[in-house]
């Protein structure tokens, strides 16, 4: 007898969405993300990246078909999806709503009804994983941008999610904090979905890239392949990332050289 197939991490078929004022947010998105796959979502402003991520995190019930870890994203399934998916907001200020880092990281586990020793264990483990154990008792409003971002990620990790969904995680990070973030993402072993304008970050952190424009999928493939296609990027309001551009210019110069 063969083992039962594990459900897809994310499966969307004809997923669409309209905002309350009627503005279309997503237009018939089809997508299949296997467990432990690492996906990036790129697109210009207003392309629907955040809206798509909100669907994956269980903010909205799906119009069309969407299942996360085999759970239908209907009103009934949203609570379970939220329990199993960790979502990082664009602005960590929105996510750090308790006075100190430790209290904030403990918020999710406490809501799960875990025992206090288990909560403390999860908090310590999440903080240690991000190398911010020393910030535990710091008030959230005293942290730097990078520290806030790390604390917000720790709050998500403490829930031990199976899928990590990040919305613009490198916003406002300096080079050091950004590098630490990339290192963390590369070490993450679960399913990962990142929406970002930072194409370099996507190039380094994901294996598959989805290009969105006006709520519709316009390309899916390996990041380097899509991000090298200057015509495609330009048509959808994006630009080739600097590292690929430098590489291309070097090769062109090499060819021209006698």
């Amino acid at each position: 007898m063969s083992a039962p197939l594990a459900p897809l991490a994310i499966e969307a078929r004809s997923l669409h969405f309209h905002y309350p004022d009627g503005t279309p947010g997503l237009a018939s998105v089809d997508l299949q993300v296997a467990p432990k796959e690492r996906w990036g979502i790129a697109g210009a402003n207003g392309s629907g990246k955040s809206t798509l991520l909100h669907h994956f995190a269980g903010v909205y019930a799906a119009e069309g078909h969407l299942s996360i870890l085999g759970i239908e994203a209907t009103k009934r399934g949203l609570a379970e999806i939220r329990r199993r998916v960790g979502f990082l907001f664009q602005d960590p200020e929105d996510q750090l709503f308790l006075p100190t880092v430790a209290e904030d990281v403990a918020f999710g586990p406490r809501q799960l009804g875990l025992s206090e020793p288990e909560v403390e264990k999860r908090v310590a483990s999440a903080l240690a994983r991000l190398g911010i154990a020393g910030l535990a008792e710091r008030p959230c409003h005293h942290l730097s941008g990078g520290e806030k971002q790390s604390a917000a990620i720790a709050g998500v990790l403490a829930l031990e999610p199976e899928i990590l969904v990040l919305d613009e995680p490198s916003n406002d990070l300096d080079a050091g904090a950004r590098r630490r973030l990339i290192d963390f993402l590369r070490g993450w072993e679960g399913t990962l979905v990142i929406a970002s304008h930072d194409l370099e970050l996507l190039l380094e952190s994901v294996d598959r890239l989805l290009l969105l424009d006006r709520g519709a999928v316009v390309a899916v493939g390996p990041p380097a392949e899509i991000l090298r296609d200057r015509a495609l990027l330009s048509r959808h309001g994006l630009e080739e990332p600097p590292s690929l551009r430098a590489l291309r210019l070097a090769r062109e110069a090499e060819k021209k050289a006698p």
Partner: protein
């Protein structure tokens, strides 16, 4: 920065900082009551009582290694609110005053004993501010909320306080940026001309942020209340402190009466 100074002082290794927050909140409330009701009538007895309470506050501040200059400076910054009320004690408005400025059928005149009453009111207001500020400077805000939750203050109110404490400074920073942006684009705009629009923008942004925070809470499994009211450990030393401080406070309130102060 202001908030950092307050937080740093509250987390400093002073001896008062180590006291149970319930004890400090309780003693602050008792001090405020003593200031309010112990010096409400004119006479030397009230002034002696205020002096005794001021000494008690100074001793407590020393015990908590509170930076004196800033403690006193900040307290004075809040005093103008009390000045307006104190000024009202200086004048009496009504019929039947022989001298004064006529106003229709009434007369505005200097209130008899108004100067002493105004000064006493100012002194009470100042000491109350000092006492409250001392609590803030020696107790982290979440610990104050924990203590209040044990006193059965409604949770909804405490949650609102917790979120205001967390986001007030974010809002102030946003306000500063808006003000700066406006100044840079329009030269020197007096605050009263730009204030309304900035407040409206801040209100709209706060609403949007409140929505995002609510979604963030839901996504992390919020089931009702925010966690306020952590485990607080009352020690034998705290019991001793309670007895000692209550005795000192009682002495400060009662000593002037037995000491023959004119009432």
């Amino acid at each position: 920065m202001h908030r950092e100074w307050i937080d740093r002082s509250a987390h400093a290794p002073g001896r008062l900082q180590a006291w149970d927050p319930r004890l400090k909140v309780g003693l602050t409330v008792a001090t405020l009551l003593a200031i309010s009701f112990g010096a409400s009538s004119p006479g030397a007895e009230s002034w002696l009582r205020l002096a005794a309470l001021a000494i008690a506050l100074a001793l407590a501040a020393r015990h908590g290694r509170v930076p004196w200059g800033r403690w006193l400076g900040r307290s004075l910054a809040l005093l103008p609110f009390a000045l307006a009320i104190a000024a009202a004690k200086l004048v009496a408005i009504g019929p039947g005053h022989a001298t004064g400025i006529p106003l229709g059928g009434w007369t505005i005149a200097a209130a008899p004993g108004g100067g002493e009453e105004a000064l006493r009111l100012l002194a009470r207001a100042w000491l109350s501010i000092l006492a409250t500020l001392l609590l803030a400077l020696t107790t982290p805000f979440p610990a104050i909320l924990d203590a209040l939750s044990r006193a059965r203050i409604p949770r909804g109110f405490l949650e609102a306080c917790s979120l205001v404490h967390r986001y007030l400074w974010v809002l102030i920073e946003e306000g500063r940026r808006l003000l700066l942006a406006r100044r840079l684009r329009s030269g020197r705009v007096p605050p009263w001309r730009s204030g309304g629009r900035i407040l409206a923008t801040l209100f709209a942004r706060s609403l949007a942020r409140a929505h995002r925070i609510e979604v963030a809470m839901r996504l992390r499994g919020r089931r009702g209340a925010l966690p306020i009211g952590r485990r607080l450990a009352w020690s034998g030393r705290d019991s001793l402190r309670l007895i000692l401080c209550t005795a000192l406070l009682a002495a400060a309130v009662l000593a002037p009466r037995f000491g023959g102060g004119a009432g």
